[in-house]
Symmetry: C2
Subunit: 246 residues, 2 copies
């Protein structure tokens, strides 16, 4: 079964705020896991959740709002690594080295849920489905990252933007928001940075897609008018097919 499906269903059922728990947990287990979570007060736009170099102690999930992770090189240039929407977990890259190698910043007013990692390790030993879930969550991140590598290494600017928008679209659908009409929480600069493109290129492609009646763009508001043609552009089969193959 696909982790993403599991996630949406169970998040609501268990009210575990984005920990994406399997629903095989008992009442009692849900209670235990829930007790381990720390819910933060809202984080203002541009405030950081953690910074590169910070000691690693917790994983985080987005409860509301949006987060970007990024690293800064010696020349001071920022490199956007990922965007996280409600229900998604971030900070996974820090488990290995014991400190954060990237920073995380709120793209808008955001609430996160903190999960102390030592508690998580402990719980996943006691609750087998929890351990299994964590393995799958980490594995899922690896597949996604490899997907992005393919995109960055082989695809044209238009294909990248197309894939990016379709990706967002399906993530919004998963949380029962409109997959055709949504607001981009990040700036054009961030999109370009993430996709390995200049801002100007992102802008130009947005207008081109708009001219071809595939997209309607108004600032950060995006409306996908022709999902099918967008898939063609992204060199991806329509999502329902992709889902069926799983």
């Amino acid at each position: 079964m696909d982790i993403q499906r599991k996630y949406t269903v169970s998040c609501q059922a268990c009210s575990l705020n984005g920990l994406c728990m399997p629903h095989s947990l008992s009442e009692k287990e849900v209670e235990i896991v829930d007790a381990a979570l720390k819910r933060s007060k809202p984080i203002q736009r541009n405030k950081t959740v953690f910074e590169a170099g910070d000691k690693f102690s917790s994983l985080y999930t987005v409860r509301s709002g949006a987060v970007k992770t990024f690293s800064v090189d010696r020349e001071g240039d920022e490199h956007v690594i990922g965007f996280y929407l409600p229900g998604e977990m971030f900070g996974l890259d820090a488990i290995n080295s014991g400190h954060h190698i990237s920073s995380a910043k709120a793209l808008e007013t955001t609430a996160v849920c903190e999960i102390p990692f030592n508690r998580l390790e402990e719980l996943s030993r006691r609750i087998p489905s929890m351990q299994s879930h964590m393995y799958r969550l980490l594995s899922h991140e690896i597949s996604e990252d490899q997907q992005l590598q393919l995109l960055l290494g082989k695809k044209t600017a238009e294909e990248r933007i197309g894939s990016f928008l379709l990706g967002l679209s399906s993530r919004y659908r998963q949380r029962h928001l409109s997959p055709t009409s949504f607001r981009l929480p990040m700036a054009r600069t961030d999109i370009g940075n993430y996709l390995g493109l200049a801002v100007e290129t992102v802008s130009r492609i947005f207008t081109r897609l708009q001219k071809n009646d595939i997209l309607k763009v108004d600032g950060k508001e995006v409306c996908i008018l022709d999902h099918h043609r967008l898939c063609e552009i992204a060199q991806k089969e329509p999502t329902y097919e992709a889902a069926a193959r799983r």
Copy 2:
């Protein structure tokens, strides 16, 4: 502590053939883990270990030889995802979906070690340091993948090749082989494919680096003559600094 260090030391100590076990295991535990491993007979060059679509049941480590993982798109084009040297684990991307989404093929005569995943889950519940180790291993793969994303999205052809060679160099050092003189187990085509470059570009840059006395290339034999300048080209600090920062 860095997972890679742990790994080299313990692999030898425990003789667990690349499972990269922590050395905190007791005699008894080592025995148990060792019993779960299946050692394969050698795999011929170009033979697959598993193929995309196969049901996922095991993770693999390379014992000797080398492996590449790749996916094939609808047009039949291959996309190289990664190269694996002795001691490295592959197949991690399959945990989530329950079937392999990429294929793995031997680049030369290769022996692998198979680790049934259900046994691994079970063991990691019983042996806390084993679970902790697996989390770090998965997290490490995520960091590496994100590093590659940066390379693919932002770096020039020369920087990519430079980083690639330095990466190989440090992986060879980890297994106590010469970090300055080694044999590339993969074809130029595979390198280009992996780095998002045309074969011609890879070839041209190899000759250019050779002309500048940074590299000596003879077919698949590579010798790094000027490690420091190669680091500059790769936009990376020399490895000893990188190691010190950890």
